[in-house]
Symmetry: C3
């Protein structure tokens, strides 16, 4: 049984297979009702999200299937205080697939553990929303015929937009280049840049944006390419990698509800015809996850480059392809992902996840905290549910009962399933660990 | 592509065609699921209206189609502050038809401009609700075999009931006569009477209601017939047109939420068997748009004249016929309406619409205000969205840059697409217009 | 036309027929979509109950039918103050069957009077929820192959749990034995015990629970068996009927929202492996209506005895069988119940029902109060809607206009359709009745 919690659950070949199928579906959306008759998907939404819900429900009905809708699970009267784990187990008896939207990071990962049917993550807090990301990639693929090697400009609030983070990882994985045009103070966060560097070798470098015109005039633009930096030195000079041509501009709205007092979005970029008049942007498609506010002028609605409404509508065939695959009516034939990163249970001490809205914290009774090692030297690990980095200062070995600095060579040699994390020496001592004497 | 924003979008022949088809459907509601399989309608409701929504969704399912439900769009969490125009463009990608309920007058007119699929107006503020009106007419047609020449008595709150206004225009258009029995202070508003007069030649005259018994005992009853008044003079005398026989009584609840302090509905008419005992009402059917409160006694529920529940149930076959037509599965074969009244954009100055809840005011970014000329002498015009009359004192010509009194002969000669409206001379001057010197 | 307002609407043979059909359905839930295509059920929910609603909607879709959802009827904006009677009459025109959830006891009984299609009671206040009870019985029947003669232990809040009351009546009717393990102060209420005694001859007796281990250690356990007590004297001694083996444990959550200040649920029973370690409980299945809080430890989730999630999922085939029967696609072939208990209208005086949330009190306009005689000597009667006992002190005869003590022999002889109930002599006098002189 396959689930879709993260884009990383799918191999690149499987994603390309989904895209090919979605393209076939889109030629006549009404012609596929023979694929899933008699099957039922349940929309389990703890947060309202009419757009995402309707897109999934449209896709399921286009496939001839039925839909159960629980759109208001977030109100206490609807869930009656029941744990997500229990609700998922019950709904498993009612439907053949669950589409889950939840406010806690990691909720879909938890649901998978308790579900008897495939689960699709339709957004878990500020963590992942894989079908949105796949829809964005699919739109690029349809518009440009490929993703590898494209130059994709991302603009606006690069710091707080969940959509952007998932999107840049996926772009890097597919080998696209990323031009960052952030609103000042809303740059890509360090952990995103770090993951781009570690997993895809993408070192941010200064970009020469003299050919982008007004679009990038007020930003410190960075260029990230999932190539090794030394290859790029051939093409760059002191002024940075020159951006000559942009394939797509991905605009985001300012996530003002998550901004602290620092951010000032008064002069937030507004895309319009004047900001896109440079030759380098002549055929750049303009994308946006919607809903938009003022960051895209309505004059782009009738400009052939403004494809954000097409982008939204492409969510239907894309989701049809995913549903048909997970429901077993069109199983993947492509090679699956290499083994998923291994998760280890936290065996000693309390849950080390620092994220108070992580499902491992909000639904403690049904969760065994887990972690995933992301780097060995210095040792780094993230929560197995919400992917947030664990605040590690010292690590211990559950066999030797010794603790070490996370930068130490010894730390590196501890078997992952023996790893214990400590905030500090006092914490380690309280759990019965002592400093390594050697 | 056809839409249904107003009853006037359909010709009388098309309406009759809808009625014939609805009648065929109603003989066995379950036998038509082959008509729209694979098609999806989306219920986009910004105001709750369970009855209307369920009626549409039942009709769509009886046709074998699927339904997407967004019943709570009015809450900010559901729409996320997105404009109606954007939401409609997105939902266009999910469904084959949109059923829209919105609190702003003109919302459905706006939706049509941005939708890629047919739109049905399921109520736009206090403006129109065409399928309700068609259901009322259909019920009359079924019960009486025709509409032309019927004597239809409308009773209660004739001033604030949206249903009644649409209904009387449609009755007049079909050539039925209207007997108005208003609660005191809740008479038909002047603009409704004026439109009845202008478009259908129906001059209100006193009615002699001596044969109606208690039903009309406490009202000043008016009689409107879409004939030229001089024809009636043969039949009327000083006491007024005598009402001998009533075919249908259409009762409305007091719209107390819209009443100011003036109205007193303490002794609001309650229809019961005693109020219907006159010989002239012996076979009058009693209609009501529901929900009712106390204005219809439950003793009429079992009286064969009380057909309001039948009236509600007839909404299903009626809406089946409309859906099948707009979805192209049973296209109209009747002759369409003569060209719809021409709408002109407002080119100079701000939006002249005086209605603060009109969609042209509440969603200014996506709306180009328009107007429709309803009379040439004196010049009168209404908002192209909400149909409310524009407060015109002076009119200008955008070519000559002169302004004129709206009663002047010159005003009459200005080409409609050159018309500019002014509140007063100061307003005209501010926009660079000067008084005509000739 | 059949309805399902109470489990008692079905004969034991019909219930067994439902179980057999549900079992057939459950072998492949997706194979029955040919049974109800073209039919529509309407979920009319005045209280949120996502679980019950989704279970019904899943069942209807598994049968190939369509669903109309009105999940928020309880908000005034949705119902617009319309009476339940009117709403039911309207929805009758939209659907082929109504599934009703309402906060007032007796609501489904009222709906039946006004509906033109079958009605299923999906919970009416604290009164009945027959499909939940049938699902519980069905689970027992599947797990144990029979219900008659089983020893079923019910634990926890036996006083305020609606589920438990319906369940014990049904167990007694099927001839199962009941072991009551209440939380202190939350024993079965007297009227439940009394009905068990009167209708099924089940006298509560002390139980010897020495073999149940920790499970019953802190309770005064009672044993009820729908046999005549004298048969049991063979097996019991001063210590009470010994419980050697339990077939099923039915656990309930504390209904704290209904507790007064008296109840103390701080040490509420928590079922876990230690409480079930006695040999007598070795193969007892553990049931729960869900949602649970802490009263069932999650360690039972993976214990084969913990079948509460299976129990929930069995609601789907069970409800499929009920829907198919009531919709006429699989009519009952078993013999129906003997004539339902006769209801008589209250002809004199006001509504005697003491329950302020009974639909006969909350929707007075559409209800003729009724009563049902449950005992002749002394005379006792219950409300025909909510089944609550009427507070009778004196009874009168509407023919003789005399009143009598309800314990008198004369009271016994009054024809039920002539019965009048009085709180006291003053009440009787006010209605024109006098004391019997004989």
């Amino acid at each position: 049984m396959r689930h879709l919690v993260s884009v990383d659950d799918l191999s690149l070949d499987e994603i390309r297979e989904i895209f090919e199928r979605a393209k076939t579906f889109s030629s006549d959306l009404g012609a596929w009702s023979h694929l899933c008759p008699g099957l039922i998907s349940a929309s389990l939404f703890y947060e309202p999200s009419t757009r995402t819900r309707l897109s999934f429900e449209s896709a399921m009905q286009r496939l001839g299937g039925g839909v159960l809708t629980a759109a208001e699970m977030g109100t206490s009267s609807a869930s009656k205080g029941e744990s997500l784990a229990d609700t998922v187990r019950v709904v498993t008896g009612y439907a053949d697939l669950i589409v889950l939207r939840h406010q806690s990071e990691g909720a879909a990962r938890l649901a998978v553990q308790y579900s008897g049917v495939p689960v699709i993550n339709a957004g878990d807090g500020s963590h992942e929303h894989p079908t949105q990301t796949l829809c964005d990639l699919y739109t690029l693929w349809i518009e440009r015929g490929r993703i590898e090697g494209l130059d994709v400009l991302i603009a606006g609030d690069l710091r707080y937009s969940r959509t952007i983070h998932s999107f840049v990882f996926a772009l890097a994985r597919f080998g696209a280049n990323i031009v960052c045009v952030p609103h000042r103070g809303l740059e890509l966060p360090p952990y995103v840049v770090q993951r781009l560097r570690e997993e895809y070798g993408a070192e941010p470098m200064r970009a020469d944006v003299s050919r982008l015109g007004k679009l990038a005039a007020e930003s410190d633009v960075a260029y990230l390419t999932p190539q090794k930096p030394h290859q790029l030195s051939l093409f760059t000079d002191a002024k940075g990698m020159r951006v000559d041509h942009v394939d797509a501009v991905y605009m985001t709205r300012p996530q003002t509800e998550r901004h602290g007092e620092g951010a000032n979005v008064e002069r937030y970029l507004q895309l319009g015809q004047s900001s896109l008049e440079a030759e380098s942007l002549r055929d750049a498609v303009v994308m946006h996850p919607l809903p938009r506010r003022d960051e895209i002028s309505s004059e782009l609605d009738t400009d052939p480059r403004g494809i954000y409404f097409k982008q939204a509508s492409r969510g239907v065939p894309l989701r049809m392809a995913i549903l048909a695959a997970l429901l077993g009516r069109q199983p993947f034939s492509a090679r699956p992902s290499d083994a998923a990163p291994r998760l280890y249970p936290v065996r000693v001490g309390e849950n080390p996840c620092p994220n108070t809205t992580c499902i491992s914290r909000t639904e403690e009774r049904h969760v065994t905290p887990t972690f995933r090692v992301t780097d060995r030297y210095p040792l780094r690990a993230v929560c197995g549910y919400c992917s947030q980095e664990l605040p590690i200062r010292l690590v211990g070995c559950s066999t030797t009962r010794h603790f070490h600095s996370r930068e130490s060579a010894t730390a590196r040699k501890i078997r992952p399933d023996h790893l214990v994390f400590f905030r500090d020496e006092e914490h380690a001592a309280a759990l019965g660990f002592s400093a390594a004497t050697r």
